[in-house]
Amino acid sequence: MSGFQYEAPATVDAAVGLLAGAKGNARVLAGGTDLLVQLRTGAAKPDLVVDIKRIGELRQISGTAAGGFVIGAAAPGAEIGEHKELAKAWPGVVEGMELIGSTQIQGRATPGGNLCNASPAGDCTPGLVAAGAIAVIAGPNGRREVAVEQVPVSPGKTSLAKGEFVVAIKLPPRAKNSGDAYLRMIPRTEMDIAIVGAAVNLTLDASGTCTQARVSLGAVAPTVLLVDAAAKALIGTKVDDAALAKLAAAASAACKPIDDKRGTIEYRTKVAGVLARRAAIIARDRARSNA
């Protein structure tokens, strides 16, 4: 019989206990928008499914005293999009989250799930990586924090150990004159997996010179990339056309994509540069208006 054990614990500790003690394959159920499809097709055959949506703290989105944010791993995209302060501080992160599916998927899909599904094309992840977000991981040995880009290690695989799961994602406090943006290329306007995604997060000084930048690319390598060379192309510049051209070239150069049903190596490489440039312009303009 192809069923599984289903548990919906009320606390993080209980969830860790279940996951750590599981015999066979255990899966965490957050929004379920990936897991249920895998259950249907037979791609996932878990023995235990742990639903984390009944853990109160995992559904919270809260601001920290320092001005950052903690997003519970089971908060759905729709709630993230409705969080006005978050959307104001991190519009790029939020637009990445809101691009996962359309309205119905938004009612369920979570950033924690998107991160741990470990698809290189996950729309939420580049924005988080560019933002310098931290994943809070609970496990049998207590909690630990890692940069989000450390969570996925290859398509469908994460660095989480048995019994561990992501409980929250932390966004740092927002400096003045900062902005971020995420863009992706899909053949339709909605309901597609990104062929390429690009997120840019930057901070300007009072003169408009870029002092800090992070650039992240999706769907151009086995995992979402953090591209230092692309960020360096922006830092110290006014994010003018010359800098943007360098950024685009660095982004394209960082790509290690594959040919697949969604796009070609050539296309992904080229469009990664285009999207990085366009996202940088949006981030720059947001930073300028965020004085």
Binding site: S102, M185, P187, R188, T189, D192, I195, K261, Y267
Partner: protein
């Protein structure tokens, strides 16, 4: 048939709420998968993971022993069919049809059915499938039509011999047929041309993409009677094919038409119904099979991919002098691609004295290629309309003027022989020419594209019954599944003839045991042919009413005329009688001869061809190749629009499907011959945010073959969009796309190649 020329209509042409509407907005309407009979089992089908393989053995013993499994069937349970086509079978090869429903000695495509189970739950049925052990010997496969036609290509069948060639081949081949038709001498006429353009085109297979997966519930009783509920485009087709395939008598099978959630040609043949009947018979319990979306993509009847060459010559002033097209279509694993109609329709919008249209069909390791809205025409038309546009561009002539100058009209001889009767091609062209869209200035990276399209439209067999109730209200019944509002048009036509209020007419779709035979809902035939049957059945009632009133009034029937739902004196010789309403006549029916029942059973000829002309504006992102459709206008000759809202809906829906075909829809196969995008995530049909409003202009050039002037409207709207979009992209970017779909990577590569 009474003449209605010049008559002003009271109901026809209005837009009332459809009779089945409330059930559909409340969730009450019953589609195939909504049936749930007591004791019903769940049926599931095991499908081939290989594109082409010999079946060495199938061991179902473990599955049969699983608790909860009530029946397992394989091809051994299906009667052997005669190999080849028998006279009277209208070209249907039942051996192939049976072999498609359940693979016999070979599997011919990824997704080909090899066994089926019925069990007490879906979970058990799935577990049982996993216990069936099939041993395969994998064979080389062929996916592309040009590859399949090459000598030495992996051969799918040993009994396909190319037809249409001389001498008759003595070796089997993947090439099923060669079609060839010509007027004049095109090759000789090219020397009179000032410009000749020859281009090659490719396209991928596409799916109809109906949202409702195929679903069937079958019930078998020990006296050999069988009932089937299913969503199809023709329950009489389901009965006919199921009875032949299972060696049953047609009258043993009663097929109940469920509501159908879209078909577009894809539900004009059986895929799962005979399997459900066999499982129900073995299990002695009702069985429901509902396809998953994956199965729908892998194992139903998509439209073929193609490879096409078109060469057209013109004078400097844009006069077309010669045209040649060769259209090579994939069949799927079995013959059946619409290459004949593609050849016939390709040059339909043009009056050409010298034209040759030829086609080939070749079997490939793909699911059966079957009908999709104006089958064949969108592809051949894409190629022809692209070349026409390029000629206009090169000659610096307005593409609209060029189409009007060369446009086909009444009296034009078509490449397949006959001459056109009254048609609306020029009217559509002029309507688009005069549309305000032409005045909207285009911005950078924007382009405007124009294309025309033709489709034959079909008639055929239909039956209808009009039952008048004792209060003068009417129940009308046909056997044509209502796929997009045809109940409303049937009721409007009956109300018109009977002269009673639309709200007093209740239309139903009868099952195969309740109403006379009706052909499938296809070929844009229902409003035309089944509508004609309804008109005749209603006229039959009117005649009976006049006869009965004549008897009451003791006058000749000619002295009684029918006006606005009343029997009235036709002249002074009928005396000074007060008009009698249908309700009053019905109330007295028992005394005047019994129930008032009108019926008609016809084989309708006289279907009038449809023309459509489309114009659209697109914007192309030069850095990503992404296309945004900004505006879209479609003009179409409907003959007479019975319910204009649903005519507009057919046009808008066809356009949307055509845009999807043009831009993003495609079957993607891996090197292993397996389909990679068998879901709505990666098979990209247009979503709401992809499209603009679609302005549908209805023109009415009456079809002389129908009492109200009706032409079919459902199919031609999908013909022009492929080229209209391609022509707009060509004008926006300077790059002419000759490979469908025009997805962003291809467009970007073409733009970059121009640089």
């Amino acid at each position: 048939m009474a003449g209605y020329e010049g008559k002003s209509f009271k109901w026809v042409g209005t837009r009332p709420v459809r009779p089945d509407g409330v059930d559909k907005v409340t969730g009450r309407a019953t589609y195939g998968a909504d049936m749930n009979l007591p004791g019903q089992l769940t049926g599931r089908i095991l499908r081939s993971p290989h594109a082409h393989a010999k079946i060495l053995s199938i061991d179902t013993s473990k599955a049969e022993k699983l608790k909860g499994v009530k029946a397992v069937v394989t091809s051994k349970d299906f009667p052997q069919m005669h190999r080849g086509v028998l006279p009277g079978d209208e070209g249907v090869n039942f051996h192939y049809l049976s072999s498609n429903i359940m693979a016999r000695d070979k599997v011919l495509y990824d997704g080909h059915a090899v066994a089926a189970v019925a069990a007490t739950s879906a979970a058990i049925a799935e577990e049982a499938l996993a216990l069936i052990d099939v041993k395969y010997e994998v064979l080389p496969h062929v996916i592309d039509v040009d590859d399949a036609m090459k000598p030495g290509a992996p051969l799918l069948h040993d009994d396909v011999f190319t037809t249409g060639v001389n001498p008759k081949p003595d070796k089997p081949s993947n090439i099923v047929q060669r079609v060839h038709m010509a007027l004049g001498d095109a090759e000789a006429a090219f020397k009179d041309a000032d410009i000749v353009i020859e281009r090659s085109f490719k396209s991928k297979a596409v799916h109809q993409g109906y949202i409702e997966p195929h679903a069937v519930v079958a019930e078998w009783s020990e006296d050999g009677q069988c009932r089937i509920w299913c969503s199809s485009q023709g329950h009489f087709m389901v009965r006919a094919l199921t009875s032949r395939l299972l060696n049953m008598e047609a009258a043993q099978i009663r097929v109940m038409p469920a509501e159908i959630g879209g078909g577009f040609g894809g539900k004009t043949i059986v895929f799962i119904e005979p399997t459900a009947v066999l499982l129900a018979r073995k299990a002695s319990l009702p069985v429901r099979i509902v396809m998953s979306r994956d199965e729908v993509f892998r194992a139903t009847g998509p439209a073929p991919g193609s490879s096409m060459d078109v060469k057209i010559g013109a004078k400097k002033d844009g006069t077309l002098v010669a045209a040649v097209g060769e259209f090579r279509f994939q069949a799927g694993a079995f013959p059946g691609s619409p290459v004949g109609p593609a050849c016939m329709a390709a040059f339909g919008p043009y009056a050409l004295a010298n034209v040759t249209s030829a086609g080939y069909e070749a079997v490939t390791n793909r699911p059966l290629c079957y009908s999709y809205r104006a089958p064949g025409a969108p592809l051949s038309s894409f190629a022809v309309e692209s070349v026409i546009d390029e000629i206009a561009q090169k000659l610096n002539i307005d593409p609209m003027e060029m189409r009007i100058k060369n446009g086909s009209k009444e009296g034009t001889q078509m490449v397949y022989g006959p001459k056109l009767k009254a048609v609306g091609n020029l009217e559509c062209l002029k309507a688009i020419q005069n549309h305000p869209i032409n005045k909207i200035p285009l911005g950078p990276n924007q382009g405007r594209g124009l294309a025309a399209g033709f489709w034959f439209n079909l008639g055929g067999q239909s039956s209808a019954v009009v039952n008048i109730a004792e209060d003068g209200t009417a129940n009308i019944m046909t056997g044509s599944p209502d796929i997009g509002g045809s109940r409303a048009s049937m009721a409007l036509m009956a109300a018109e003839v009977l002269g009673i209020d639309y709200s007093k007419v209740r239309p139903i779709v009868g099952d195969t045991s309740s109403v006379g035979f009706c052909e499938i809902t296809h070929g844009s035939r229902v409003t035309f042919a089944t509508g004609m049957a309804i008109i005749q059945a209603a006229e039959d009632v009117v005649l009976q009413c006049r006869q009965r009133v004549a008897a009451m009034w003791e006058v000749d029937v000619d002295a009684v005329k029918w006006e606005d739902g009343h029997a009235c004196p036709a002249g002074a010789n009928a005396g000074d009688q007060k008009p009698l309403s249908l309700a009053k006549i019905a109330a007295k029916a028992s005394r005047t001869g019994g129930p008032l029942v009108g019926s008609a059973a016809i084989n309708a000829g006289g279907a009038g061809p449809a023309f459509g002309v489309h114009i659209c504006d697109v914007e192309v992102d030069p850095e990503t190749g992404g296309v945004t459709v900004l505006r879209y206008v479609a003009a179409q000759d409907a003959g007479k629009a019975i319910h204009p809202s649903y005519v507009e809906g057919q046009i808008q829906g066809g356009v949307a499907q055509g845009i999807g075909w043009a831009l993003n829809e495609e079957y993607i196969y891996g090197a292993d011959g397996r389909l990679q995008n068998s879901g709505f995530l990666d098979y990209r049909i247009p979503v709401a945010s992809d499209l603009p409003m679609i302005d549908a202009l209805i023109l009415e050039v009456p079809n002389p073959g129908h009492p109200f002037g009706v032409r079919g409207v459902g199919e031609v709207p999908i013909v022009p969009p492929l080229a209209a979009i391609a022509n707009a992209i060509a004008r926006a970017t300077g790059a002419r796309m000759m490979d469908l779909p025009m997805s962003p990577p291809k467009i970007l590569a073409a733009i970059d190649a121009k640089k």
